[in-house]
Structure formats: structure tokens, C-alpha cells
Symmetry: D2
Subunit: 359 residues, 4 copies
């Protein structure tokens, strides 16, 4: 299929906050047309504008307003070239399976299939080489066109970008300790109660730390020789501590990092991050940012309110790069948790797949 | 001097936010009577209620309202038994010197004299043994009664409490990586601009990280054999990353810790922290909290809004104690930055001095 | 019954945010002892500390922690002298009825019985004269000791206090237009979603405006000659517009007011408000504040964070008293919505009843 | 001068928050090219990126980054077709005068000349008919091309839009009582201290209420028969109460309104507001929004975070239109305070002037 045709896109879980972000991004994306919106039976049959409680600061796109919401049965999605899933993990497992088994290309933000060895867990500016798993996945499931690609947890998405750049240039990483300050939009709606977060910090995001600690290893890892399964890193040790903070969008992460080999200087780290590029850029994907990593020199940056929209939310901003008295290097990064950290990653994953002729 | 007499207290820098906190705490403290309030020439001569822009959520104590503010010349402070300094560092050096050279007992929250080898840098629930330096300090300066004791930076105050408990029981600490989420009250008034912190994080607190990294070593260290100078730890390596967050009061700190020797289990750490006591408690000091460390079992605690007032702001709350995949132990602590982290520490330092007959 | 005996108090709806506030306040109140805590079947049988998700910034009182929660069947409340209800309106109707019919004295914060003509809707610093309805209420229901007294909606509580003072001194009020800025704690827990209120205002509080507009008329009104029913004001017209703002506690209300007769000057208004007293003070009720109305002269007050704790949350703070170019007088008031606006009012209502021999 | 040529624009006060907004808006506006950036002597000579502390959530436009900041001497602005002033009122008076006397067309956001009778105080979607004053202004000052047009205070801008629509259709307005909830960006940077606004409301914005109360009368008023001076309304009475709230951008205003004549129904009001158009739209001005007034039917709207960007910040959103028990109609409006309320209004004023051949 030519990558130049405008592709028909479905959004499952369209009424949730991730679904809303998919809709905003797709409405501005020339590669896709919003074709179908799927949600629970409770919403099915209603115009989207009535089925959803819109929470984006962008206005609801006109093409979504009057779309009639469907339930999530693949039989209702004929004509869709690509299916984006913003489903809640409690239902994503079964529904996504029904779609890829019905030979749809599924790009999922849910956690359910992320750690399956033949499923690409793909941050599209980091490890599109994992798409090589799709052939094995199709063979295993007996599919012709269908497959599933997942993107990572939102805080993982930010962390792996500089780690990948540094690993590629300076060799294996040995240890990293990361503490996050995560935005409330990551918890969906209604999500975090205001009484829990006004004038407050919540020092726990349930299940988030193990996700970060294992997803990073898969994303930065390789594939088996026959490209049948992923082979996670086994040499990197990670400790993640995750906090919820009163910020709308944008996860901040404070990273301390040790290299396995002789460490680079601060200037070498900065240059490496600035120069980092990826294949999705080379292919001219619409959502690939001009600068994958935005390195800030101002010592009080990155800041969520000022930097989260860098690269239209697809860049990672890294600042405060300095020597670490305990490990080698420390820095602070910012990632837009619902764009590169969620819907934007899925969409760029789909753009990449289109460019590679997988749709 | 008997410790039972009510002592006359002066507060320097009385119109600032630290000064306001001194006044609130002293007004409830049976060991002290507010005797004199000192501030800049601009405020001198005015009733306190007109000289200050009150920002505490407690109402202004009656005894402070009509006190006439003095300038900071020691000649005006006859009759004061103890001088608390909440002065800004830009003026604290000279003014505090003029007071202790005039034979006043000075308890300072400013950073100027903290790292002087014969000045106790004292978190009163941690290292009151450093008061042994006072004799040497007096000898060096030729003072009879005067001396200066400083308390630490607010974020340091929280960190050293569990570290001290653990070091005492399990032996030397090897490495710690800490990331803080610090409240706006730490920056004084007007301090942090609202445009910088609403829906935002500022990933830098200027000068804070080096302060934490060196103060901890002094506080957890010992004294020379003749008690003439402090001998900071040289075996512990620390990396601190400090962030400003939209919280009024209460610094949260995420700590990863490595022991030099065989590490304790999570349960042993909890027990150790719960059982930690200090000499100020034994002496019956009014401001010493019943529980120095409040260990929480709920996995989403400590939270600033819910836990900062534990022990009337003099306890440190430690939660999320768990194994660290990189070091040995990790946990999250909370300290009330303007109470144990500032004015409360100074006051307990003075109570301790009174009990020990140093006033 | 002597008003000097410590009374056994039950709290229904003890696990909710109003219930938690009742518990905090009762734990400091010498007139009451917490005897029983009631909640839904889901919580019944559990220790309170496990049944509730504590959200107060005060620590949970020791006497509540280990109390075993009961269901809300009056048969389990033998020995209670007074029953406080923080129940949700969806269940309060039936449960409260079962209690007062079982001859308990019920003090309710729920809206269900507020507008019943023989039920006192009582802000205890305003209209304790409405307690005269209790005799009629008992007669109508055939009760010996049981009755129900309700307190008003939180925003009503703030408004009626200065209106009552002004009406008493300057005669009937003609028109008032009030716009509120209400704290999130008024919505309970989880209540307002953080995505709805961070960097945002919600310009609607469902059902709040009609409640304010009708409750004020009942509270400021009188009784029929035989004290059998309440006779709401019919001469005052009210328009209320209610907004939710990102404040934890404390409702701010901007009031424009027209008198029926020749209006007082700004100075006369200030004096009137300052001099206002009530019978609960005269009787020496513990929770009656020293100053019912705290009049501020600083032109940027009242502010929720600075003034909500005036009179331990039982005073109303009124500031910005100035002429109104459209009506006669305008001012801004602040009321602690969960103390005078909820649990504190109920408790003072009960103290008053005790002093009057009604318990 | 043809309106089709791209015009050279200067921004005075370019480093402030209003100046930053001017730069963001001009960078997206096809009618203007940023030609010169002016600021204080302290900034003059520096590249803009170094002279300013950027606080917009949009990234700094490339064309501004390297522009060398000038001081505010008209001699340095040769070649500029239009001068936008975001200057602080403390210096705007003299500097703006020097520019219009040097025959520049000045569009000012400062308050200094707003109430001068022959200066248009123009909200460009409301009263562009006041441009007729320019001839008289030029005559009075002996200018050929120079003149000054001011836009209104930010909260005024929001209020006059629906009032104008209603006055045009239903005749004179009699009384209005308005209470505002204003965003912090209106106070510039550093502006409001975070300790004043986190978990808080400030019930005063100094000088704001009189500005609103007099500016509305001028904007909704007419001109003398010879178009030499403005003739403010004298039949409308206004009471404004202004509050600062913890919102970044977007002023909310709660309005109660009385008509002089028989009042329209709620439905008639909605229709009138929806149908309102203005001359700047008819002329095809780039910044004129498609819908001047965005009428919301959802009863919990407008909300700042969700609605402030309607019409790219140039629309006013009006919701909760309902009958008023005291006056006739009440509603809640939202205006983007730094776009239609400041820089956006100035720019649309300039676009209108260009279309009318005044530049």
C-alpha cells in the first residue's frame, strides 16, 4: 500500500483522555482521516460530542463532533486501514486481540501486550528496528495483514530516548536511578482527585515503577537472530521512583546514570543528544520532530509549562546535564506524556509502518 | 542559668517568612517569651503588624502585633537571653557576628556560618553532640557567653534524620542519590513567581544541591579529639537533585541508599527508624517530637498536605521503604521545611542549649 | 440533662469528608466524647482507620483509629446522647428519620430536611431562635426526646451571618447579588477531578444556587405565632452564582446588597458587623467564636489561606466593605466551608441544644 | 497604503509578558513582519533571547530570538509602519507620546491615554466606529500620519462584547453587577507571588474595578456630532468586583444585567449573542474570529482551560445564560486576557486601521 494515500483510522477508547488526544492529533495529521470512533456499549450509537466529556484545551475537531460512536466489534470497522487503541487495560486485552485476529493493524497504548516477546514495544524515535518482529508475530498467529505494535508507558517514553542516544554512542549503560514528577493527565479522567493533588504530591503511581523498570530493558534491547522474539538488556540495572505532581501535562524525570565503559564528558553528552536522529525522520514521517532531543542550556529548564510542546510534543527536552558525584552523569528530562508518551507515539508508529509498506 | 525560667527571645529578620514562622512557634512555646523583633532600617520603629506582610495561615500572635520593630544593632537587645536569626544571607554574616561578639547566644537559620569548622551545624534531633564545639568557639573568639549555632538547609534537615538513624545502627553509608520536590515557602516572599509554578515544575533551586551535598557530611560527621573542629564524613558520596513544586509547605525527598556493610532488610530499616530517639527528647525539650521519625505503612504516603504537621512539624515522615534494585534501600521522606527545616530546628537548638546550661 | 456532663456523640457518615471533619472537631471538644462511628455496610465491622481514606491535614485522632465502624441502624447506638449526620443526601433521608423516630437528637448536615417547615434550619450564630420549632416537631411526630436540627449549605452559612447582623440593625434587606468562589473540599472525596480544577474554574456547582437562594430566606425569616412552622422572608430577592475554584478550604463570596430603608454608611456597616453577637456566645458554648464576624481593614483580605481559620473556622471574615455604585453596599466574605459551613455548625447547634436542656 | 502589503511592526516593551504575547501573535500573522523590538536601556543592545525571560508556553519565534533589542527612542524605528506598545504604565505615557508625535501609528495596551476624549479606546470587535476620532486627534496634535489607539483593560474587553451585542439589539442597559475571577498572567512577571495564590484567592486587583467601571461606559458610548470627542454612556450603572484566582490565562466574569426596556428572553439573548458580528470581520481582518461570541449550552462552561483558546483567543465565550431573580439576565463569560484582552486586540485594531487606509 502506498504511503501517500490518506489512511482511514479508527480510534478505540475514543471517549477517554488518550482517545481524545488521538482525535486532536489525527485531525491535524495529513496521513490519516478519522474514519471510526469506538467506545463502550454505553456510548455506542451516540454522536461523539454527546458521548464524551471533552477535556482537551484544544477545541473538539469538527469531524469528530458528529461521528456516531461504535462499539468495539471488528465487524463494524470495515474500511479502516489502521486501528489506534486508547482502551483501558481492563478491556484492551480481549478487544485488541479481536482486532488483530481480524487482520487489522493495531497500534495500542495499553499495557496488555507490551511485554509479549514477539510484540514490538516501540517508541518510534528509538527502536523501530523491532518492527522486524511483525513477520514472526503474523506467522505465529496465522495472520495475513494484522498485527499489533504497542508503545510504552508514558514515563518510559521519555527515559529511553536519551538512554538510546547515549548507549548507541558510548556503549552499554550500567546503572540508572530515576525519579519522576508526573502530570495528572497520565491518570485519565476523572483520575486524580483534586483533594489529593492541590498543594500536594502523591509519592506513588500504582504499578508505574515496575513498568518503567522492565520496559526500558526491552526497548533498549535487541532481537533474537531470527527476529522471532525480543531480547531485553540484561546488563542495565534500573531503579525508578514515581511521583504524581500538580501539573496538567508533561512528565519531568531526574536521571542519574552510570556507563559500563569510560564515561563521556558533559560536553560529549550534550553533543550526542543534540545529534541524535532516527529512521522515522529519514523516512519523512509527518509526526517525527525536527529535533528528537531538545537540549537546553538554561539551567532552570526543562519546565513542563514552557517545554512540553517542543516538537509539537514529540521531542524530549533534556537539561541540567552535569557530572554526578555518585555515578557519571545526571540530567533532567521532560516528555509530553500524552503525545510522545501516548497517542503521538502510536501515530508515529503507524506512520512508520505505512512508510515501510506494512499497512 | 536554670532551664525553667522563661527566656527572653529576640527574632532578627522578623518580617520575613522565616521570621514569621519563628514568631508563630515562639508564641506557643512555654520556654520563651517574645522580647524583641528586629528587621531592616525600613521597618524599624513601626509596629510589627504594619512592618510585615503576614503570610502564615495561623493568625498573627497578639504579643507580636504591637511590638515595635528594632533595627539589628545588638545595643538594642539588652535583656535578651537568646537571639534567633531568620536574616537573609546577604546581611546575616555581619549582623550575626555583631551579636555573638556582643556575647549573645545566636541561633541562626542563615547559611553564612554553617560550614565554619568550629560552628555547630546542628539538626537538633540528630547531632547535638556537636555542641561540644561551643567551648572551642568561645575560646577562639574570646567570648564569655556568646556563641553561634546554625541549623541546616531545609532539605538537608529532612535527609539527615533517617540517615543518622541508619548509620548509627547499621554502620557507615556508602552512596546516596536523592531527588527533592521542594515547597514554595522555602523561597520566602515574594519568592517564586506564580507564573513559574502554577501547572509547572522548576527543576533548579539555585545553590541548593551543593548545600545539601556538603551539609550532610558535616552533620553526620564527628569532632576532632579536642572538640575544636568538626570532622565531616569522607566516606559517603551524595548526589542531590532539587526541584521546586507547587506545594505550600513540606519538602518531599526520594532517596536511594547504599550501605558500606551488609545491608539491613526492609523490616530492619523500618524498625530502626521507628525506634530512633535523641537526647533532646530525653531532656524533655518542649519542641522535641514524641516520634522523631514517623514511619508510614500506607504505600501512598508521605504526602505534604497530610503529613507535614506530624509532630507539630518536628517529625520526619518516611514511607515507601523498599528494596532498591540499584543500591540497597530506597524510601521517600517528608520534612516540614519551615519547622524542622528552619525555625523549629533553631528553637529546639535553643531549648537544648538551655537544658544544658549554655544560656 | 445538665450541660456539664460530657455527652456521647455518634457520627453517621463517618468515613466521608464531612464525617472526618466531625471527628477532628469532636476530638478537641470538651463537651463531647466520640462514642460511635456509623457508615455504610461496606465499612461496618472494620476499625475506622481501615474503613476510611483520611484526607484531613490534621492527623487522625487516636480515639477514632480503633473504633469499630457500625452500620446506621439506630438499634446499635444505645447510649448516644447526640447523633451527628454527615451522610450523603442519597441516604440521609431514611437513615436520619429512623434515628429521630427512635428518639435520638439528630444534628444533620444533609440537605434532605432543611426546608421542612417545622425543622430548624439553623446557623447557630444566626437563628437559634428557630429551636422553638422543636416542640412542634416532637408533637407532630409523637416523639419524647428525638428531633432533628439541620444546618445550612456551606455557602449559605457564610452569607447569612453578615446579612443577619445588618438586617437586625438597619432593617429589611431588599436585594442581594452574590457570586461565590467555592473550595473543592465542599464536594467531598473524590469530588472534583484534578483535571477539572488545576489551572481552571468550574462555573457551576450543581444545585447550589437554588439552595442558597431559598435557604437564606428561611434562616433570616421568623416563625409562625404558635412556633409551629418557619415563615421565610418574602421581601428579599437573591441571585446567587456559584463557582468552584482551586482552593482546598474556604468559600469566598462577593456580595452586593440593597437595603429596603435608608442605607447605613460604610463605617456604620463595619461597626455593626464588628459588634454582632449571638446567644450561643452568651451561653458560653465551647465552639462559639469570640468574634462572630472578623472585619478586615486590609484591602486585599479576606483570603482563604490566611483567614479561613479565624475563630478556629467558626468566624466569618468580611472585608472590602465599600459603597456599591448599583446597590448600597458591597463586600467580600470568607467562611470555612467545612467548619462553620458544615460540621462546626452542627456541633455548635448541639452545644446550644445541650445548654438549653434539649438533650 | 494598501492593506495587502506586509507591514513592518515594532513592539515596545517587548521583554514583558504583554510584549511576549505580541511577538507570538505577530509571528503567526501574515499582515505583519516583526521589524523592531524595543525595551528599556537595560535590555537595549542585547539579542532578544538574552534580554527576555520567556514565559509563553509557545516556543520563542525564530525571528525574535536574534533581533537586537533597541531602546524606545523613535529615531531608531524608521521604516516601521505600526508600533505596538506593551509598555508598563509607569513609562508608557512619555514614550508613546514621543512616538505618535513622531508620526507613528501607535496601538497601545497601556492605560495612560485610554480615557483621553479624542483617543479611541477600542475593543476591535465592538467599537471600531470610534476610529472616527483619529482625524480630530491628528488635527489637535498637528500630526500627518501619527495617532494613538488604545485597547481596554483585559477584564473590560470581555464584558463589553456581550453588552454591546445586547445593547444594539435590545436597547439601553440600565444596571450591571459583575464579579471577575482573573488569571495571573494579567499581572505580568514576576507579578503575583505564588505564596499569594496557591490554595488561595486574592480578592483585590488594585485599580482594576474603577478601570472597568469607567472604560465600559466609554466603549459602549458614542461620539460627539463632529467626531471630535467620545461621549460615554451616562445611563448605565456598573459595579465591578475583581478577584485574582490560580488560573494561568483566561478571565471569568459573572454578570447580572438589567435592561432599561422590556427584557429579552433567555433564548433571545442566546440568539442575539450568536448572531453578533462586527466590521472587522466584514473587512476580512486576519485576527477577527469566525464567531465573536461563542455561546455554550453545556451548563458547566465556559471554563478557562477548555475555552480560552476559542477563536484563537479572540472569541468571548458566554455560558450559563439564565434569568436573574434580581435583574433580568445573568451569565458567565470568559475572555483570553492576553489575547482579546491585550495584545490580540491591539493587533486587530492595527489590522482594521490598515484595511481602512489609516496606516
Amino acid at each position: 500500500m502506498s504511503s501517500d494515500r490518506v489512511l482511514n483510522a479508527a480510534v478505540l477508547g475514543a471517549t477517554g483522555t488518550v482517545g481524545q488526544r488521538f482525535i486532536v492529533l489525527l485531525s491535524k495529521n495529513p496521513m490519516f482521516r478519522i474514519h471510526s470512533l469506538g467506545a463502550s456499549e454505553r456510548s455506542a450509537g451516540k454522536p461523539y460530542s454527546q458521548a464524551t466529556k471533552w477535556k482537551m484545551s484544544e477545541l473538539m475537531p469538527e469531524e469528530a463532533k458528529n461521528a456516531v460512536v461504535k462499539n468495539c466489534d471488528p465487524a463494524n470497522y470495515a474500511g479502516c486501514d489502521v486501528v489506534f487503541s486508547g482502551l483501558d487495560a481492563s478491556v484492551a486485552g480481549d478487544i485488541e486481540k479481536s482486532f488483530f485476529e481480524a487482520d487489522f493493524a493495531v497500534f495500542s497504548n495499553a499495557k496488555n501486550y507490551r511485554m509479549v516477546p514477539n510484540v514490538p514495544l516501540c517508541v518510534p524515535v528509538v527502536n523501530t528496528d523491532h518492527y522486524a518482529l511483525i513477520a514472526a508475530q503474523r506467522a505465529a498467529l496465522g495472520l495475513k495483514k494484522g498485527f499489533i505494535v504497542t508503545n510504552s508507558n508514558c514515563s518510559t517514553s521519555g527515559l529511553v530516548v536519551p538512554l538510546k542516544a547515549l548507549q548507541d554512542r558510548f556503549g552499554p549503560l550500567k546503572r540508572t536511578i530515576v525519579t519522576t514528577l508526573q502530570a495528572i493527565s497520565g491518570a485519565g479522567y476523572p483520575g486524580v482527585a483534586s483533594l489529593d493533588i492541590l498543594d500536594n504530591i502523591v509519592p506513588l503511581i500504582s504499578g508505574e515503577e515496575p513498568k518503567m523498570e522492565e520496559e526500558v530493558l526491552k526497548i533498549l534491547g535487541g532481537l533474537s537472530q531470527d527476529a522471532s522474539v525480543c531480547t531485553p538488556l540484561d546488563n542495565l540495572r534500573i531503579s525508578a521512583t514515581c511521583n504524581r505532581v500538580p501539573v496538567i501535562d508533561g512528565h519531568t524525570e531526574c536521571v542519574n546514570l552510570e556507563f559500563a565503559n569510560a564515561p563521556p564528558s558533559v560536553e560529549e553528552v550534550k553533543r550526542c543528544l543534540r545529534e541524535y536522529t532516527c529512521e522515522a525522520q529519514d523516512l519523512g514521517c509527518f509526526s517525527a520532530p525536527k529535533h528528537i532531543i531538545n537540549v537546553t542550556e538554561e539551567e532552570d529548564r526543562p519546565q513542563p509549562r514552557l517545554d512540553r510542546n517542543a516538537g509539537d510534543g514529540m521531542s524530549v527536552t533534556v537539561g541540567r546535564i552535569r557530572e554526578c558525584p555518585v555515578f557519571h552523569i545526571r540530567f533532567t528530562l521532560l516528555v509530553h506524556n500524552t503525545i510522545l508518551g501516548a497517542a503521538g507515539a502510536s501515530i508515529l508508529n503507524a506512520e512508520y509502518a505505512a512508510k515501510k509498506g506494512l499497512l
